[in-house]
Symmetry: C2
Subunit: 213 residues, 2 copies
C-alpha cells in the first residue's frame, strides 16, 4: 500500500474507478434502470465522492460513454493500420469491434447508452459527434475502397457504413442475449459474409485479401 502518490493521481484513479463501475453497470441495465447508489456501491466509494467528481448522473453517463467509446475507437484504429486494402481493413475493423464487445462487457455501455441517449431530452452535440465518428470510420474505408476499386461502386458509403455499424450492434445484442457457442468463429463467418458482399469481385470472394486469380 502507501503508494498513493500525488493527490491529483489519487483523484484521477478514483474518477477512473467510478467510470469503470458506471460503464459496467450501464452496460447491463441501461441508464434509467441503473441507480447512482448501485454505481457508487460497485465502485466501493460513496455518493459524496461521486458528486465530487461529476455534476450529475447524466454527465457521468456521457463521460462513461465517451470513456468506453474512446477505448473502442483506439482499438479499432490500431486494428486497421496494417491492412493493405479496404476489404481487409473492413474485415479487421468489424472483427475488432465484435471482439471488443465480446471481451469487455463494459464496452456494451456505449451501445446501451447510445441507444438510450437518443431518446433523451438533451441532444448533446458531443455525444452525437462520437456516434458519428464510429460510423465515419466505416464510411471512410468504404470510400477508400471505392477509389481503390476494391469495393463495389453504386453503394452509398454513408448508408452502408450505417448498416455495418448497425449490424455489429445488432449481432452483439442478439448474441449477448442468446449466448451460444463459439461466438468468435461465427462472428468471423458473418464478417466474411458482409465483406464479401461489399468487395468488388465475385470471383475472388473466397479470399478478399489474397491474390488468387
Amino acid at each position: 500500500m502507501a503508494m498513493m502518490a500525488t493527490r491529483q493521481e489519487r483523484g484521477e484513479r478514483t474518477r477512473g474507478r467510478i467510470l469503470e463501475a458506471a460503464a459496467g453497470a450501464f452496460a447491463e441495465g441501461g441508464y434509467a434502470a441503473t441507480s447512482l447508489n448501485a454505481i457508487v456501491a460497485a465502485s466501493g466509494l460513496t455518493k459524496g465522492a461521486f458528486y465530487h467528481h461529476f455534476d450529475s448522473k447524466e454527465e457521468l453517463a456521457l463521460a462513461a460513454f465517451r470513456y468506453k467509446q474512446e477505448q473502442l475507437v483506439a482499438r479499432s484504429a490500431a486494428a486497421i493500420t496494417d491492412a493493405h486494402d479496404a476489404p481487409a481493413a473492413l474485415r479487421a475493423l468489424l472483427c475488432e469491434r465484435a471482439a471488443a464487445l465480446r471481451e469487455d462487457p463494459a464496452s456494451r455501455a456505449v451501445l446501451r447508452l447510445g441507444a438510450e441517449f437518443r431518446a433523451l431530452a438533451s441532444p448533446d452535440p458531443e455525444f452525437v459527434g462520437f456516434q458519428e465518428l464510429a460510423i465515419e470510420m466505416f464510411a471512410e474505408l468504404l470510400r477508400r475502397g471505392q477509389d481503390e476499386g476494391t469495393i463495389r461502386r453504386g453503394l452509398d458509403p454513408r448508408a452502408t457504413a450505417e448498416l455495418l455499424f448497425g449490424a455489429i450492434v445488432g449481432m452483439d445484442d442478439v448474441w449477448h442475449f442468446l449466448g451460444g457457442d463459439d461466438l468468435e468463429r461465427r462472428s468471423e463467418e458473418l464478417v466474411d459474409l458482409l465483406v464479401e458482399g461489399l468487395a468488388v469481385d465475385a470471383e475472388q470472394r473466397n479470399d478478399t485479401r489474397k491474390e488468387r486469380r
Copy 2:
C-alpha cells in the same frame, strides 16, 4: 358518442388504448424511463383503469411487447407468402420489417423492450419465445433457400438469421436517430446488398429475382 356497446367491448377497447399508449411510450424512452403515470396520461385514462386491466408495469410491458410483436409477425408473414424463392422472400421480409418500423413508431417498442428485458431479472420464457420466433423466420427462409439451391451453403442459417435480425435492428436504430432523407430507397439498397451477398450466384447478383443470363 354513446356507441359504447356492451360492457365487455368497452373494457377491451380500454385495454387496447392502454396497450397502444404503452407501446408508443416504451418505444421512445424504453421501459425503465417510462413511468406508469406517463402511460396512463397518454392513454387518457387513469391508474385505476390501468390496474383494473393489468397487474403490474412489467406485465404491461410484456403485453405491449407481445402485442406489437404479433402485429410485426403478421405483417411479415403476409409479405412473404407470394415470394417464389427464398431470396425474394428474404428481400420481402427484410423490406417489410424495415417498413413497419419506419411507419409505426410504436413498433420500435419491441426493439426497445426486447433489448431491455434481456437484462431483466425475469427471463420470461414466453418473451424469449417471441424473440426466437422473429429470428427463426429468417433462419427458416435461409434453410429453405439452401435446399432450393438459391442460398449459399456453408453458412450457418441460424447464425446468419441472427445477423439479419440484428442488422435490421441496427439499421432502424441508427436511422431513427440520425434521420436522413429517403430512408425507404436507402433501405432497399441495403436489403439488396444483404440478399445478394447471401444468394448463391455472383453472376446474377444484379437481380436475384430475374432470369438474366
